[in-house]
């Protein structure tokens, strides 16, 4: 009875020891992973900072103005180039009158005829 208990206990000890070491091993592995991920995150953060600074440097208005004037022929907005929507009618050119197609004519058929 007592021997049985002893054997059971020894077995339990071995099992738990193996379990413990496997867990510890996994923990170490996970810790390493966390550390490497953390450093990776830091690295990425640094890169983001650098890229954001570079973006800001490349999009600085002085540079954009120079580039736009040289390559696109763009200039700052002049007064009169901006109009409110409800005043659009006063600045738009007269719209050419729309000629509705006669109901009995088929424009596609006309086109096809023209092709032949």
């Amino acid at each position: 009875m007592l021997r049985l208990a002893n054997i059971a206990l020894v077995l339990a000890l071995i099992v738990s020891a193996v379990f413990l070491y496997s867990i510890e091993h996994k923990t170490r592995e996970a810790e390493r992973q966390v550390a490497s991920l953390k450093s990776q995150i830091n690295e990425e953060r640094e890169t983001i900072r650098l890229l954001r600074a570079e973006w800001s440097n490349l999009t600085r208005p002085q540079r954009l103005q120079k580039l736009a004037q040289r390559h696109l022929g763009l200039n700052p907005v002049k007064p009169g180039q901006k109009v409110r929507r409800r005043n659009l009618g006063t600045v738009l050119p007269e719209r050419p009158a729309v000629v509705p197609h006669a109901a009995d004519r088929d424009p596609i058929a006309d086109m096809l005829k023209g092709l032949q």
Binding site: R45, E46, R49, L50, R52, A53, E54, W55, S56, N57, T59, R60, P61, Q62, Q65, P76, V77, K78, P79, G80, K82, V83, R84, N87, T90, V91
Partner: protein, 568 residues
């Protein structure tokens, strides 16, 4: 016997009992030990994470980085980037010649002779080069020179260069703020800086300025053009949000590049907007008008005798655009009559005048977040002649920013709001604002400002579609203790759109020269005012001010349009 028997009989039982007790005791002892161990293990595993966090933070020992600085739309104006610096341990270097050869191959700017001197020293640490680019770093790393290594350092960079230099300031090599907002973040504003920090992630939120990078560029571009065109010594400008006091743009030329702080040492590169004080001249007349209208000593129908120069003691006050007749209040404003304005101030009285200027914040040093702030230059005694000259802006000098602040108060309904460079929530304004004039007076001032651009001295500031109002100023500079006729400081202060002013603009040119196309004039109306017009035309679309054309303007635009089409 019976005793022995009984004891004999009982003894195995008692012995057994005693033995069992001992075993139980031992079991209990072990159980306790294991419980303690189990409890301790559980405790450690539960609290381990926190302890480890504390330890790793202490171990890394990296302080919270300096916050980035962004404009009001989140564009980065200042940021920290990591750079590698090259160092060496001369004791560990085996072959100096080889090391020098390899290093100079990657870094040609290194001088071989000084490099040899450094590497021959009997030291464990020498800097070889600060701030090495990533490519060079990789190249040196691949060479595998023993005893040479890199150390990461942070470097403050200003990606937009000169833009907003006077606002941002700069830092020293150890990232300590030496001027501008950078200094504020370390000093007075340390509490604000701390509020941005996020210790958990060892980062900080950006410090958001009220500045708008686009407006800043537009203003600085136009001012630089004007400075060159009129051959002025310096130029300055401010765009202020009239109802929140936020400084959307602050330009002072000549400026410097904060990436190279040595440029800032040049005396001409001071921040004229807050560090300099100037006699703003006729721009201050608007303050006198507001005071008189608010006090009720003058109304919109008052008239002022400007037939003769005003004689006070030994001084004669004359007009630049002398009309030699009795002027109405509006005419006094439109012709910028010194005599009329002086009479208006005298009607309010010396004490009232002083009290109002004090209330308007013109007598005290205006403090913003910028550590550089000049105190106003005030006359030592306040006499009748002082009131007379002060009414048209002579004899006392203030920061140009104070001029903009007061103008904002005159047009925004009468609230004096301390200007700020940081983003300000509109809800917090009411707690900071101070009423200096009645809303009805402000309305009259708006009318006068707008009228002045329509047909007064500030006509050239007009922009089609946008109702601009403003006042011009031409002050003669004091050279060797005397007012000089040839050294002028011209300025324009105005607001737009005039129906409900949202933005106040101040433009100042230092010693603009007369040109042929200005018919030899160098007064404000010929230089500062047209520049202000150009600035407004350029920044109004950026600020979302919708144009509203009058019929006349619409015709003009329509007439100009076909020409444009042909050109295209």
């Amino acid at each position: 016997m019976t005793d022995a028997q009984t004891t004999g009989k009982a003894s195995p039982g008692t012995v057994r009992l005693a033995g069992q007790n001992r075993i139980r005791l031992v079991l209990a002892g072990f159980a306790l030990c294991f419980l303690i161990i189990a409890g301790r293990t559980a405790g450690l595993s539960v609290f381990l994470s926190e302890n480890a966090g504390v330890r790793s933070a202490a171990h890394d020992n990296i302080r919270i980085p300096r916050p980035d600085i962004t404009d009001r739309h989140g564009r980065i104006l200042a940021s920290d980037i990591r750079v590698a610096s090259l160092h060496a341990n001369p004791r560990k270097i085996i072959d100096i010649d080889e090391a020098i050869e390899k290093l100079t191959a990657v870094l040609p700017e290194l001088d071989p002779r000084s490099l040899r001197k450094k590497l021959s020293k009997d030291k464990a640490f020498v800097w070889l080069k600060r701030e090495v680019s990533p490519e060079q770093r990789l190249a040196i790393h691949n060479q595998g020179i023993p005893g040479v290594g890199f150390r990461n350092e942070t470097k403050r960079v200003y990606p937009m260069g000169r833009l907003g230099a006077h606002v941002l300031g700069f830092v020293d090599i150890d990232s300590r703020g030496l001027a501008g907002i950078e200094k504020y973040l370390d000093g007075q504003g340390a509490l604000y800086t701390a509020s941005l920090a996020k210790p958990q992630t060892r980062s900080a939120l950006p410090a958001q300025l009220a500045l708008d990078a686009r407006v800043q560029h537009a203003l600085s571009d136009e001012l630089a053009g004007a400075m060159q065109h009129f051959r002025a010594k310096a130029a300055a400008g401010i765009v202020l949000a009239a109802d929140t006091g936020e400084i959307l743009s602050l330009v002072s030329l000549p400026d410097y590049n904060p990436n190279d702080p040595r440029q800032a040492l040049d005396k001409s590169a001071i921040n004229r907007v807050t560090t300099g004080v100037f006699e703003l001249g006729s721009v201050i007349k608007a303050v006198t008008f507001a005071m008189a209208l608010d006090a009720g000593t003058a109304n919109m129908n008052s008239t002022f005798d400007a037939r003769f120069p005003l004689v006070v003691g030994r001084s004669r006050i004359n007009d630049f655009h002398a009309k030699r007749r009795i002027l109405t209040l509006q005419e006094v404003f439109l012709y910028s009559s010194n005599i009329g304005t002086a009479r208006m101030a005298l009607q309010v009285g010396l004490e009232g005048h002083q009290a109002f200027l004090k209330k308007a914040g013109l007598f005290s040093r205006l403090r913003t977040e910028l550590p550089e702030a000049a105190a106003p230059l005030l006359p030592p005694r306040w006499s009748k002649i002082t009131t007379v000259t002060a009414s048209f802006g002579h004899g006392f000098a203030v920061q140009p920013l104070q001029g903009a602040m007061v103008t904002a108060a005159l047009v925004n309904g009468g609230l004096l709001i301390p200007p700020t460079l940081l983003r300000r929530h509109p809800d917090t304004v009411s707690g900071l604002a101070k009423r200096i004039i009645k809303p009805s007076t402000s309305e009259k001032m708006r009318y006068l400002f707008a009228l002045n651009v329509e047909k007064g001295t500030a006509r050239r500031a007009g922009v089609p579609g946008i109702r601009v109002g403003g006042k011009t100023g031409t002050a003669e500079k004091v050279i060797n203790g005397r007012y000089s006729r040839d050294h002028r400081l011209t300025s324009f202060v105005g607001a737009f759109p005039m129906d409900a002013p949202k933005y106040v603009l101040l433009v100042m040119l230092d010693e603009p020269q007369p040109l042929k196309e200005t018919y030899g004039y160098a007064t404000s109306g010929w230089n500062a005012v047209p520049v202000a017009g150009k600035v407004i035309a350029r920044i109004a679309p950026l600020l979302g001010v919708e144009p509203e054309y009058t019929e006349e303007e619409q015709k003009k635009i329509a007439a100009a349009r076909p020409k444009q089409d042909k050109g295209n």
